[in-house]
Symmetry: C3
Subunit: 208 residues, 3 copies
């Protein structure tokens, strides 16, 4: 198996786990089957679509390759039927979600660099790839994105993305920085889940 094939398989795996989280939100919001499929697709593909539209890599890869579209549909259907089991297996879902986040922040940064962006915007695009799908899911489901308030989620993604961008500037091999950046994101995110780390909240009462 070549490295490029490995990347595609990992990418599809990341889309799959993100799509499950989208479909679970749909079930909890009592949406219908179509809502579950759209939230699954938006969560799985939304971050990459947002990145591709902003860096002018349109049409996004997922629209040029129908296998990319089948993965969130499959994840949505599975979740629609087996949501009680998946909802109970929350630890496993969270672990795979952290894995997807680590993967997306690395591949997203790499693609942005490939399209000519500098290190700072490329790292931002990496983070957007990782968190954009979940933000879109929450906006469509009518809630404030959880990434803004409950979870330490974006910072690990930005850290992983920044490591890839810095490594590229220093001329280090992609596979080395990808491994380090992805691992930092993954471990940080898992520690945040286990130890319930949160981002700082504003001090003092807000004026109205």
């Amino acid at each position: 198996m070549h490295a490029a094939d490995l990347l595609i398989v990992l990418d599809l795996a990341g889309i799959f786990v993100f799509a499950i989280s989208g479909a679970l939100v749909a079930v909890r919001k009592h949406l219908d089957l179509f809502g579950a499929l759209v939230l699954a697709s938006a969560t799985g593909l939304g971050g990459g679509f947002l990145r591709d539209v902003l860096i002018d890599a349109t049409p996004p890869a997922a629209l040029a390759d129908w296998r990319y579209l089948m993965v969130p549909v499959a994840a949505g259907l599975i979740t629609f039927v087996y949501h009680p089991q998946l909802g109970r297996a929350e630890n496993a879902v969270n672990f795979f979600d952290a894995f997807g986040l680590a993967l997306f922040c690395v591949t997203g940064t790499s693609k942005a660099i490939e399209y000519g962006l500098g290190p700072v915007p490329a790292a931002l695009m990496g983070m957007v790839t990782g968190i954009g799908g979940g933000m879109l899911r929450d906006v469509l489901a009518g809630r404030v994105p959880v990434v803004f308030r409950e979870e330490l989620y974006a910072t690990p993604a930005l850290a992983g993305a920044a490591l890839v961008a810095v490594g590229h500037e220093l001329g280090i091999s992609f596979w080395v920085t990808a491994a380090i950046g992805g691992l930092v994101c993954l471990v940080w995110r898992l520690l945040a889940i286990v130890r319930q780390w949160h981002a700082p909240t504003p001090r003092g009462p807000a004026s109205v």
Copy 2:
């Protein structure tokens, strides 16, 4: 009148009826005149904009031709003034809305094929053209898109779009597949309204 002119007139008619549904939501949410005009424009043009941005057909047709921009503004103004009458004529509004949906799923698929997309993504883009405006309307109006929960709306659009995409693969004339695809979408959607069909909802209580 040429076929291309007919398509433009139908397209403008579809934008008009979608824009009325957007302005009616604005009135019911007690938004002001500007809110009504933006929701009218977002509903009428949003699906096509979303498709055009994703398939890289930018700037969208509506930005290259000011007549496209005047139609939702006119629909918004008319609805703002005559909303009590339009609100009561709900059956007529729903009929024309189904007509717009049928039209958009056909023309959206056709445009995506023209821009080089394969049949599966092209059918998806056709569905997005049909339902994207209403989803944008609902997100801007602060509610979960009705297409996710109340209405059997997306499935007819996807069916019509898929027929156009399959017909193109089989080398059938566009006008034949357009007529069949549009009719299937229209009839299915109207039956869903009359018989109150819904998409399936998840079984069992959702875990939290």
Copy 3:
């Protein structure tokens, strides 16, 4: 200092004040530091991103120049720490926000003309540049955009944008129309704040 440099400095100043309004909304919604930074960035850069994606000027300028990304981050951090003081200085924040609106409607229209749009779509893109960031801020913060219901905000932006578009059609120098368009937008918006002008709301009860 050249005119182009002046434009960049003004642009960064506009992004800065818009970003403060975004971060203030985040603090009032009890979001965390990351939510404040994202809402600051979305408010400061969102209108320009939306315009650039629609007129096919991608990647947006802010992604090609990292200084553009640092400005909303700085505004977000400052607001996160000093939100009580900034929240009390509401008059000053509103004044600078009106200044940013005037600036963005002028530069947005000008960029759209440069990319080949006609006068009507170019004026619309100017308005979108001015109000898009605030709309994105409100959607991400889970509220109906204030521009739809509380504030006379979009009309001044459209008026300023229209003056720039008409001036370009008549062959008048950009700096003259920019000054007039910007001033009309600024004064109108400030009068709307001081005299509490609102856009018209629909008459009569809405049918349900």
